[in-house]
Amino acid sequence: MRFESPTTTKAAASMLASESGAAHVLAGGTDLLVRMKMGMVEPDLVLDIKRIETMKVLKVAAGGVHIGGAVPAVELGESERLRSLWPGVVEAANLIGSDQIQGRCTVVGNLCNASPAADSVPALIAAGAKALIVGPKGKRRVGVEKVVLGPGKTSLGRDEFIEAVVLPARAGKSADAYLRFTPRTEMDIAVVSAAVNLTLSRGVVTAAKVVLGAVAPTAVVVPAAARAIIGTKLDDAALEKMAKACRAACNPIDDKRGTVEYRTKVAGVLGRRAALVAFERAGGSK
C-alpha cells in the first residue's frame, strides 16, 4: 500500500486515475480505517485529501453553503451561522459518532461511504444539496441523492472524488430537522432516521421535502409525505397522513440493528416528529 497526500485536487485526480489497484480516498478515515482494520478492504493506494487547502473550506453565506470534503463534522457545529441556516444538516452531521469521531469525519465521507444508515445523507438530500465531483475530465455537479446507489456503492467513477457539497440559498421562513432512532443516546448507528426541510408562508407549509434513512438500500425521498403536510399547519390529520406515507415508503431489512416491522413503524413516528421540529424552527405554531 502507498500513502499519498497531494495538495491540489488536480494532483489527486491524476493519482486516482493512474492507480491500477484499489485506490481509496481518505478524508476523516473513520470508516476507511475500520474497514482496513477488519480486513474488509486492502487498499493499494490511500489518498489523503486533507492537505488540499480548497477542500478544507467551509463557506457559509445566505446565498449558499460550501462544505469542503475535508471539513470535519465538528466544524459544522462550530459555525453559528450554519446552525441557524441549516440546523437539521448540522444536527445530522453532529450525530455521527462521538466527539472523537466528529473531529475527523466529514459529511462528504459520510456520503461516499454509502451506508443506508448514514446520518448526514437524509438531511443533505432534504436540503437539496449538490455534490461537486472532481475527475480527470474536470468538475461536475449532481444532486446528493444521485450519489449513493446502494449499500457501499456510489455513482462516482473510480477516478472521481467529491470536492465539496453545497447547500442552496436559504428561503425565508424555512428550517430543517433531522431525527434518528438509536438504542443508545450516543455512539450508535441509526436504526431509522428522518429529515424534513420545509418552508412556511403565513404559518402554512408551502414547500417540504421528507427523506428517510436506514429503511431501504439508500436514503428515500418521500414525496407523498411532503404532499401530506404541504398546505397545512401540521394538524394531527396531516401528520398522521404524513406518517402513513413514511411507513409506506419503507423497504427495510431485518438485521442486528432492527426489524422490518420496527423500522417501518418508527419511520412514521420520526417523520412526524421531525416535521414538527422543523415547523417550529421555521416559526410555525400549531
Partner: protein
Amino acid sequence: MSGVTVSAKVNGDAVQYVCPPNESLMDVLRNRLNLTGVKEGCGTGDCGACSVTLDDRLVCSCLVLGAEAEGRSIGTVEGISQDGELHPLQTAFIDHAALQCGICTPGFLVAAKSLLGRNPNPSEEEIRYALAGNLCRCTGYDKIVRAVQSAAKVMRKQKKS
C-alpha cells in the same frame, strides 16, 4: 510495503518515526514511541481508550494513520501533567475514585481536558454527552462525571486567580 518517514510533535517534543503506510497512529504511539498510556480497547473508534489530540482536536488515534501525522502536533495522556505537577483532572480522578481498573482513564482524561478547554463550565448533561465516546465498564460513570465537575471548578478558580 515501504515505510513512510514522519516528523511530528508529540506532547510538545519533536519526534521522527518510520511506519508502514497502513499503520495506525495508535500503533505508532504505543509500539514505536513507547507511549503505552494510549490504550487499545477496540481499534475501531468505538471505545475512546486511545483518545489523543491531533492539532488540538480530540480524535481516536486508532482511526488516524501514522502517516497522516506529518507536521502535526499530538497530545497524549503522558503530556497532561506539566512540570511534575498533576493536572487538576488527574488529581480529581484520584480524589474522587473515578477509576477502578484504570484502562479507560487515559482516554477519559484526554477527552475531559479537551472538553474543559472548549467549555470551562459544562453541565452534567454536557459532560455526559462529551464523554460518550469513552467507554468505562467499571464505574457506571458516576464518579467520573463528578471528578470532571470538580476539576472544572478547580480550573475555573485557577484561571481567576
